[in-house]
């Protein structure tokens, strides 16, 4: 069997000392293969962005403490020297975040910033012509002119394209896109998603796509992980998970999204909110908000159970309620 591009085994992330100690991620495991798009969904505070930033050890340790393993192309990220980490960050793993304006340096020209990415990871290709080629690839018209402009002279959609150009110029194996289109209009969002798909076909990188938008997951991802309170609660092929959700949380999440076809009646809601890591409930972490909770749900933490093939669910009472 070949080595997966990314393998996360039982990742635990803790912060704080003594009684202040909180466990932010708890036993997160998954794999991602070359050329695959893996979706990661959940509400704010579920730990999806923390998982993403852990992959290249972007959360500093200390104060954070990691356990478990993260293997990128078979190499353990936790065993890397700072020199190796520098090569990993931006070189093997690139990030695209929600707010392009917060990623771009406002006082540097767009072209200069892309050139920097090239200079760090592919010094032999660090030429303006190569920068223009990348700008063109991500669909920015008149790249020579745009390269000379400053970020504020570009629209939000164009800024995000520039960020994607910067992330891809190093030709990473893994692109982590954390809510890449949440700040953009639907029409621009559609353009960016199409672009990501095209570029993936061209370069074959794996994409970890983090979003709270289940529609985007449905259109883009092959497999999906659903996270809640620092744990994976359900995973599997996108069609199965969204078409036939097994965990009550996944079902509730799907039911709270208004659809373009639905009728004008009430939206189903999930009562309460995601608990903070300091007050994760005992037993199943979803039980206080779960409509199907039974008395023993507050006692035992359910295990992530394998239903079939690649389908995992963390609920002993999974399935459609009677």
């Amino acid at each position: 069997m070949d080595i997966p591009l990314l393998e996360v085994r039982d990742l635990v992330l803790e912060m704080g000392q003594g009684s202040e100690n909180v466990r932010l991620l708890n036993g997160v495991s998954f794999t991602l293969r070359k050329g695959e798009t893996l979706g990661l969904v959940g509400e704010s505070g579920s730990g999806k962005s923390l998982t993403a930033s852990s992959l290249a050890r972007l959360t500093p340790s200390p104060p954070s403490r990691y356990r478990g393993q993260i293997l990128v192309n078979g190499h353990d990220v936790f065993g890397m020297t700072s020199r190796e980490l520098r090569r990993l960050r931006g070189g093997v793993i690139s990030y695209v975040f929600q707010e392009p304006a917060s990623v771009l340096n406002p006082v540097l020209r767009v072209g200069t910033q892309i050139l920097e990415s090239l200079r760090l990871h592919h010094p032999e290709a660090a030429r303006p012509a190569e920068v223009h080629r990348w700008l063109k690839r991500v669909g920015i018209p008149s790249p020579e002119k745009r390269a000379r402009q400053y970020p504020h002279e570009l629209s939000g959609g164009m800024q995000q394209r520039a960020v994607i150009a910067m992330a891809l110029a190093s030709q990473p194996d893994l692109l982590i896109a954390d809510e890449p289109t949440t700040a953009l209009d639907v029409t621009i969002q559609a353009q960016i998603l199409d672009l990501l798909r095209d570029l993936q076909q061209q370069f074959g990188m794996g994409i970890l796509l983090i979003t709270h938008n289940l529609g985007i997951i449905s259109e883009m991802a092959g497999r999906v992980l659903v996270m809640y309170a620092g744990q994976i609660v359900e995973s599997g092929a996108v069609g199965d998970v969204l078409g036939n959700p097994q965990h009550p949380y996944t079902r509730a999440l799907l039911a709270s999204v208004p659809s373009l076809q639905g009728n004008r009646d009430r939206l189903l809601t999930i009562p309460g909110q995601v608990p903070s890591p300091r007050e994760f409930p005992s037993g199943c972490r979803f039980h206080p908000r779960c409509v199907q909770a039974r008395p023993d749900c507050s006692e035992r933490m359910p295990i992530l159970e394998e239903l079939s093939g690649s389908r995992l669910v963390r609920c002993p009472y999974h399935g459609v309620p009677a």
């Binding site: 509400e43 704010s44 629209s155 939000g156 959609g157 164009m158 209009d185 639907v186 029409t187 621009i188 969002q189 559609a190 353009q191 998603l193 199409d194 709270h212 938008n213 289940l214 529609g215 985007i216 449905s218 259109e219 883009m220 069609g239 969204l242 078409g243 509730a252 999440l253 799907l254 709270s256 999204v257 208004p258 659809s259 373009l260 076809q261 639905g262 004008r264 009430r266 939206l267 189903l268 809601t269 999930i270 909110q273 995601v274």
Partner: protein, 321 residues
């Protein structure tokens, strides 16, 4: 007579670039008309920069319109000033997008919700005010213990409830919600959307609901107005506009929404380019540079908003039912 009737509303901004250059004009809202009845929800959708927020601010007179009329219960708000405006404006309130930026961090929830009551001298004394206050908190689903806490102690969804309670304090007839749920998680978004609908049912106020999420707007609205470059390009019953859009812009907006597929897939039209600058809009139909069906006529002749079937209007030369 409608509760609120907006006629030919224009909000233009003069931009001066340097001393010797002539000022250019940004037409943020250009000749928009609509009406709304008690208990009705009008959804307004469009991309960033289409003028929907400017329109919202003009309706509640946070901005002074350049031209047009805003008839509220028969009075034209567009020309009112000072005390007369303040008196009328009580009945039009606004809920803002950012639940973090729209609440004063130095005021307790009690002070935030009581402030409009104090300004308009509603309630004879502190006691009646505090009754009103707890009614409001209950109405938006917060417990009375919230009274003396500060905004930072609440989550985004709870803050949006506080913003709604503040807007409801003066018993408005019209509440303008500018992207009230965009900053919230889907599960919380559903709670706030349901809350707004419940409040509308019990209080009978009219809602103007601005959002870029078409599914949410379709869900909550009775009628929808689609805006592009400061103009209304399509209006009609919510279902009709989203399920059977007539204007090519609305069609592409609807098609751009990523849908959760449970089976068949729908081909997506990806609209090329971005909305042009409203300072220098294209001649003819403002949408023609991005329109997949544009003809020569569209490049010269601006289309008029016309009724293509009862209650359903579109401004496209080729709009059909």
């Amino acid at each position: 007579m409608s509760l609120l009737e907006v006629q030919g509303l224009k909000v233009h901004f003069k931009l001066r670039r340097g001393w010797f250059r002539s000022a250019s004009i940004l037409k943020a809202v250009d000749d928009v008309s609509f009406q709304i009845d008690p208990g009705e929800t009008l959804g307004i959708v469009g991309e960033s920069g289409c003028g929907k927020t400017t329109l919202a601010r003009a309706i509640v007179r946070l901005l002074t319109p350049t031209a047009g009329r805003i008839l509220f219960e028969g009075t034209d708000l567009a020309i009112l000033k000072g005390a007369a405006l303040r008196l009328r404006r009580r009945k039009l309130q606004m809920v803002f997008q950012d639940p973090y930026g729209s609440l004063n961090p130095r005021m307790t929830i009690r002070q935030i919700i009581n402030e409009p009551l104090g300004i308009h001298r509603v309630g004879k004394n502190a006691k009646t005010r505090s009754t009103r206050y707890s009614e409001l908190l209950t109405a938006v689903g917060l417990d009375a213990g919230a009274a003396d806490r500060y905004p930072h102690e609440f989550s985004g969804g709870q803050r949006q409830r506080i913003g709604i309670a503040r807007a409801l304090a003066l018993e408005p007839r019209v509440v303008v919600c500018d992207e009230p749920v965009s900053a919230l998680d889907v599960s919380v978004q559903a709670q706030v959307v349901n809350l707004l609908r419940d409040l509308q049912e019990t209080l009978g106020m009219a809602l103007v609901f601005i959002a870029h999420d078409l599914a949410v707007v379709r869900h909550i609205s009775h009628r929808i107005m689609v805006m592009y470059l400061g103009k209304a390009v399509e209006t009609g019953p919510a279902r009709t506009v989203i399920d059977h859009p007539s204007h090519p812009y609305t069609k592409s907006l609807v098609a751009a929404v990523p849908a959760i597929r449970r089976g068949e897939s729908v081909p997506r039209i990806v609209l090329p380019g971005e909305m042009p600058s409203p300072i220098n809009p294209p001649p003819g139909c403002p949408f023609h540079p991005r329109c997949p069906v544009a003809q020569d006529l569209c490049r010269v002749e601006p289309p008029l908003l016309r009724e293509i079937q009862p209650g359903h209007w579109a401004s496209c030369h080729f709009a059909t039912v």
